[in-house]
């Protein structure tokens, strides 16, 4: 075993011969519905995936994201709806005629074939000439840094290597659409984080439209061009990772992606109040009534005791006292009780001014920038 996880650190091999840039296709999903009994696995889903885009379907288990991917692959027949790859309507096309690549969650490598036969399976079915087959298999294996592994048996490979073989098998016939069903969920954390970057690089290199399913919000943020958050069979938000993180449209999205604290606030004649304290926010306040204010723990800034503002004059000042301090290595996570009585999570750097003085019970002042407070409808 000379190659496995060690070379992994080098990323996609720069000297691997480039595959002919694969053409990509846009995917158009219209009103796709799938029910299991009375449960809507997919509830009139509309989604446009751009050509060459890395689109992630993100949601908790049972949200319908895997069902949607399965509809794209042709393994699940929806009750109704339209699905187009480019201009071709494929909703009734059987899976073997769809020509999309897919990486399965448990890899689904054929246990009775060696690595090369697994990777070359699609080429063999397409009756590609023998010599051409082995050339393309070897090239695909080199792309996933498994050059020379062709004769290995599948059960001689580590989890990470199997993952790579599955990937090579899915891209070897240069599909214009690549589907991935939680491909990294079985790997340990370090390898997973490395593979995220590598998959992303591979996508940039090959350019095929990629649909990626995961329940790991961090993975989604790391890899995607856009993320479709799916909940109870519907797409509840479709946005870039940054927009999704900074401007979630609902409590569900806010809580599902990243850490957040929600506090009840009221809007009266355009003024947002936390208790009696008026807040300055960039987000439009909208109609009068109750709202939730969402705050990301790391967006709150610690104000040294006695300092009055300092930064932007539009920053909101929140004061309270520290309840608990948790050391997390790269940061401190504080639980703070505000003067208004609400609990709030705050993340701060270890070397931040005043961080050393943080003790349970100590008074604390925090600054919240106007752009960092998000108003959400009350459930």
């Amino acid at each position: 075993m000379h190659l496995p996880e060690a070379t992994v650190a080098s990323g996609v091999q720069p000297n691997a011969p480039p595959m002919t840039t694969t053409a990509s296709l846009p995917i158009t999903i219209r009103q796709v519905t799938k029910r299991y009994g009375s449960m809507h696995a997919l509830d009139h889903v509309d989604l446009d995936i751009r050509s060459g885009e890395f689109m992630t379907l993100l949601g908790p288990s049972g949200s319908g994201k895997t069902t949607l991917l399965s509809v794209l692959g042709g393994f699940t027949r929806p009750d109704a709806g339209s699905l187009r790859f480019g201009d071709r309507e494929v909703v009734t096309t059987p899976p073997h005629e769809r020509g999309v690549g897919m990486v399965f969650q448990n890899y689904a490598l054929f246990p009775h074939m060696n690595v090369a036969d697994n990777v070359g399976f699609a080429l063999r079915l397409r009756q590609v000439a023998r010599a051409e087959q082995s050339r393309r298999v070897e090239r695909a294996l080199e792309m996933v840094q498994l050059g020379g592994y062709g004769m290995r048996r599948v059960d001689q490979l580590s989890g990470g290597q199997r993952q790579r073989v599955a990937l090579a098998r899915a891209i070897v016939f240069e599909p214009r659409i690549l589907l991935m069903d939680e491909p990294l969920s079985a790997l340990d954390k370090q390898l997973r984080e490395h593979m995220q970057i590598e998959l992303r690089q591979l996508h940039e290199q090959l350019g095929m439209t990629t649909v990626y399913v995961t329940h790991d919000q961090r993975e989604a943020l790391t890899m995607s061009d856009r993320i479709a958050v799916i909940h109870q069979g519907r797409i509840v938000q479709l946005d870039t990772p940054r927009a999704l993180y900074d401007r979630p449209v609902s409590r569900f999205v806010a809580e599902f992606i990243g850490e957040s604290t929600l506090m009840p606030v009221t809007v009266e004649r355009g003024v947002v109040r936390l208790g009696s304290q008026p807040l300055t926010l960039e987000a439009p306040a909208g109609a009068d009534g109750a709202r939730h204010l969402m705050v990301r723990p790391e967006r709150l800034r610690l104000l040294p005791a006695g300092e009055s503002g300092g930064g932007d004059p539009t920053d909101n000042r929140l004061s309270g006292h520290v309840r608990t301090v948790v050391f997390q290595g790269d940061s401190l996570l504080l639980q703070v009780t505000l003067a208004q009585g609400h609990g709030l999570s705050v993340r701060t750097g270890i070397r931040e001014a005043g961080a050393a003085a943080l003790q349970p019970g100590a008074p604390i002042s925090l600054a919240l920038a106007a752009r960092d407070g998000v108003l959400l409808a009350p459930d």
């Binding site: 042709g74 897919m102 689904a108 009775h112 399976f121 079915l125 899915a170």
Partner: protein, 305 residues
């Protein structure tokens, strides 16, 4: 450095090593004792009688050492015919069991587990009734004036009673009925173990349902098929009741020949020799199958177009 606490009672570098080793040995011996009753039973009722029969097969009728029982098998055509019938009937039974059992096992393996368990019960039910009862039941159904012929003629499908029993057909029907569960069980468990995502992957890579069956499902179900076929074939070699009742004296297998030798001719030597040869050929079959099928499984689907 050993832990300081462990060095306290003994000055030796390996405290309690001897006592710990003894404890381990005692445990091993205790485990071995568990197989003693079964071993005694098998030795008393199986190994000793078989050895005695083996011994008998080498004695002539006058009680001297002789190979005459074995030579007779070679020189008398009726004995050779018996062996040929035995292997033919066993092979046909195995083939029919595969034809009937493979689709059935596949269907079962596609069902939800609970439903499949219920259906499996139906497959296993025949195993819990006496083989004699089942065999005579077939006689009732298949004979000239049996239910099947009565219905067929009554419905106008055929005019003369068809010979469904007292021949090879009847024997095969009865044997397949008895042996089918032994084919379905290993097939079913092998098929259950096949990850259905593999078939999805095959389809995704461009395989039609037929191709993915030949290239993926069949090779992966091969161990179950081989096990089932081997069990059915080997067990069929020793069949007695079914050919005796449903064969009507026309299907004489080795076991029936043995019974005749003993009941009619009191020739224990000849019967023992038959038994010994049957046992030897059976073992040979197992070894042959082990090599052949082992190789077939490794060769897998690579040769496919």
């Amino acid at each position: 450095m050993p832990h300081p606490a462990s060095t306290a009672p003994h000055l030796s570098a390996q405290p309690h090593a001897v006592a710990l080793r003894r404890a381990g040995q005692r445990e091993q011996i205790g485990l071995l004792l568990l197989i003693v009753p079964a071993f005694v039973l098998i030795a008393g009722t199986m190994l000793v009688p078989v050895a005695w029969l083996f011994h008998l097969s080498f004695l002539s009728d006058e009680g001297r050492w002789s190979l005459e029982h074995y030579l007779r098998m070679w020189t008398q055509p009726s004995y050779l015919r018996t062996f040929r019938t035995t292997f033919e009937v066993s092979a046909l039974t195995t083939g029919l069991c595969i034809l009937l059992g493979y689709p059935l096992a596949y269907w079962l393996s596609e069902l939800p587990r609970r439903t499949a368990n219920l259906c499996m019960l139906a497959v296993l039910l025949p195993l819990w009734t006496s083989i004699l009862v089942r065999t005579y039941a077939w006689l009732v159904l298949l004979q000239r004036k049996g239910l099947i012929n009565n219905w067929g003629i009554g419905a106008g499908w055929w005019d003369e009673p068809i010979a469904l029993v007292h021949n090879l057909t009847g024997t095969l029907i009865g044997m397949v009925h008895v042996m089918l569960p032994f084919m379905v069980l290993p097939l079913y468990s092998a098929m259950r173990a096949i990850d259905r995502d593999l078939l999805k992957a095959a389809a995704n890579l461009g395989a039609t349902p037929a191709r993915s069956f030949w290239l993926v499902f069949l090779p992966l179900s091969m161990p179950g098929l081989a096990t089932g076929a081997l069990i059915v074939f080997i067990m069929s070699l020793g069949f007695y009741v079914t050919p005796a009742v449903l064969g009507g004296g026309k299907v004489i297998m080795v076991a029936n020949q043995i019974a005749t030798d003993i009941e009619l001719f009191f020739n224990w030597g000849a019967a023992s020799a038959l038994g010994a040869v049957l046992l030897a050929t059976t073992l040979l079959c197992i070894e042959l199958a082990r090599r052949l099928l082992g190789a077939a499984f490794v060769a897998d689907a690579r040769e496919a177009p």
